[in-house]
């Protein structure tokens, strides 16, 4: 027989202190974890903090760790989880907690500012082939849920927020670098500001992307190749040695 209620074990607390609190929530057909959180807010604990907007996996606001897995709460069906035991809902681990399920993601907005903006080549004709556009549109699907940032071990385990930009901003850089009409060069920014060398291609980011962007294969690896071509190509290095760095 199907369960009629579920237990949610939700982190309650702030940057200093916190604990997991259990809530009983009545189940409804098709319910997602965010519905359950809203039910707790409306009926049990109006001050339970959570970020959300669209409830349709389009805005990327409701990222959290459900049963230890980084997910969008609006896309995680309750009936996909084992309901005979408590469902844990915790904030993203790689960012400082503000309160309950809400974390401070402001660092991401600071990283974004480092990226050289779109610069159309002078005098371009504004025509593009869909085939060229397809490649970039994959990157532009990103909804900035920051789950890729959350699971990247360079950020999650090693907290290299000063040196490293994270997968989200490699995706953004790739979208600009591969734009058919863009004329800027971002390899120096990628190497020096975003620390792309720290990424050792474990593909954790790709696995959690709710938009199914092939972050590692289609964004990070081609960017790494560009950086290597420009900074570590033997011929270029000799030319640099003789004529000085550009």
């Amino acid at each position: 027989m199907a369960e009629t209620t579920a237990t949610l074990r939700v982190f309650r607390g702030d940057a200093e202190t916190g604990k997991a609190v259990d809530y009983q929530v009545p189940l409804t057909p098709g319910m997602v974890v965010l519905d359950a959180i809203h039910s707790i807010q409306a009926n049990q604990s109006p001050d339970l903090a959570v970020r959300w907007n669209c409830k349709a996996a389009k805005c990327g606001s409701c990222s959290a760790e459900v049963n230890g897995r980084p997910r969008l709460m609006c896309k995680t069906r309750m009936d996909s989880l084992p309901l005979d035991q408590p469902i844990t809902v915790f904030p993203m681990k790689a960012f400082p907690v503000i309160k309950d399920l809400v974390t401070d993601v402001s660092w991401n907005y600071e990283v974004n500012k480092k990226i050289t903006p779109f610069q159309p080549r002078p005098g371009v004709e504004w025509k593009m082939d869909q085939a060229d556009v397809d490649r970039v549109q994959e990157f532009r699907k990103c909804i900035e849920c920051f789950l890729c940032q959350n699971v990247c071990h360079v950020l999650r385990e090693h907290d290299k927020k000063k040196e490293f930009g994270g997968p989200r901003f490699f995706v953004r850089s790739a979208g600009l670098e591969m734009h058919p009409l863009d004329g800027a060069n971002r390899t120096r920014v990628l190497r020096e500001q975003l620390g792309i060398g720290y990424c050792n291609i474990t593909k954790c980011c790709t696995e959690v992307c709710p938009e199914e962007i092939h972050i590692t294969d289609n964004a990070i690896i081609p960017l790494k190749e560009r950086v290597v071509d420009e900074f570590y190509d033997p011929l270029t290095m000799i030319v640099r040695k003789i004529f000085g760095a550009k």
């Binding site: 409804t28 903090a49 996996a57 805005c59 025509k127 863009d182």
Partner: protein, 574 residues
Amino acid sequence: MSPAAQYETHEHDVLIIGAGGAGLRAAIEALAHGARVAVVCKSLLGKAHTVMAEGGLAAAMANLDKSDDWRAHFRDTYNGGKRLNDWRMAQLHAQEAPDRVRELEQWGALFDRTADGEILQRAFGGHTYKRLCHVGDRTGLEMIRTLQDRGVQLGFDVFMECTVTRLLKDGDRVAGAFAYWRDSGKFVVFKAKAVVIATGGIGKSWKITSNSWECTGDGMALAYDAGAELLDMEFVQFHPTGMVWPPGVMGILVTEAVRGEGGILRNKSGERFMEKYDPKRLELSTRDVVARSIYTEVKEGRGSPHGGAFLDISHKPAEYVKRKLPSMYHQFKELADVDITKGPMEVGPTCHYMMGGIRVDAETGQSTLPGLFAAGEAAGGMHGANRLGGNSLSDLLVFGRRAGLAAGQSANKGTKAQLDSAQIETAARDALAPFDRPTGENPYKIHHDLQHMMQNLVGIFRTNEDLRRALVELDKLKVRAKNVRADGSRQYNPGWHLCSDIQRMLTVSEACTHAALARKESRGAHSRLDFPKTEDEWGKKNLVIAKKGDAMNLFEVPRPPLPAELEKILAEDK
């Protein structure tokens, strides 16, 4: 002043409230004209409701249909709005939308392409030609990301997760705003020479809505409280196709692009019922007509199992559906266990868009208050009695730019604002009141009751009796909202935030109900069962609402006559 009421102060030339398409476009324009700009928004940057826009952006680029031009777009918009639009806005919108699209592209937006590399355009309800520039079914995301990045590049100050609860005035002039940080609950005072409201719609007053939690009518209520006029508040668009099952996703938008790409509506007997209601345009009739048709089918017992209609695109090749409607494919697959490449979706009307809003000057977005501008969904007039799909994103760009420009220019001329502390103290006291009451009601309960009441009494079809009952219910809700209580601390407390949002939802709900009661005809999205006809007399006037003392005052304003040039365009109707 008590320690709890202390605040930080920020001073700019232009303050923009709202960071959706209109707010960001306004910010970019004001920045480009040398103003120092602050953008304040309730969510994180890039999460505003614009992100949910799916189908596209209407602009007469004529990339596919060479006969299209601004005249045809104007005519479609004006007829779609049942000729109650501010004709000057409809004209400017049609004329300027293509430039705004090209500009987005030059800032890095990547639209889908035609075979010869131009921007691809798709068909949509009420548009004579293929006119909607789009990116699959995630056009809003493309637009907001492009504008966001452009704004960051130009250098605006963004105050994210910060809610404005009151406009502040210097004499008669709007000169700032009072807000709280959602994370800490601490107060902020913004001082500015000009303020632009771009806060979007009011859908959260209804139970079934496509709108996010932010759409609580903030800008309209703030402007009304400060003394500005609201226009056309009776016209609320119910989008014909929202999800109806399962319950948790009820109301979530199913893009009109499904119908634009060839989707067919059927009732439970498999009948293509739009043949009855609009045999010429069928599924691509205007939204008011399609929404009423679905509602009628359901009411008369011909609905789908969960009280909607069937919308089917599965006759198209699966790969095509996945490419053109990727987020619809995922949305139904993951949330409703339906594969739309194999079978139909169940859909029904959902509260989607407010045609009415702050009364503005067409050219500048200037409200009836000095220092206060408005653009986008928060402003009224552009769409008349019914908005065409795709005209919202273009509206945001055209009038966001115009309001930003005018606000920037007015700030250049303006003087430094003086804000007296009394209004700030009142705002702080009001904001903290829900904590100070020893007992009181849960705001979620009041919100729940408001949504059910508006859904039942101020919905798609309206009557004198229902609307009068709604006003009585609103009075009761207002009393309850005065006694609302917040538990816990000021730190990121959604219950406390809702205490404040409810006040504004009640204001716009009441304005909508008053105007709906007063307009004794049916026109566009406003359908009165007791006055089913569209009356010429009512086509000559708009309804305006303004605050008089503590009461809502409603009056009629005559519509200025259409210039001969525009009359001629309408007469060319095919």
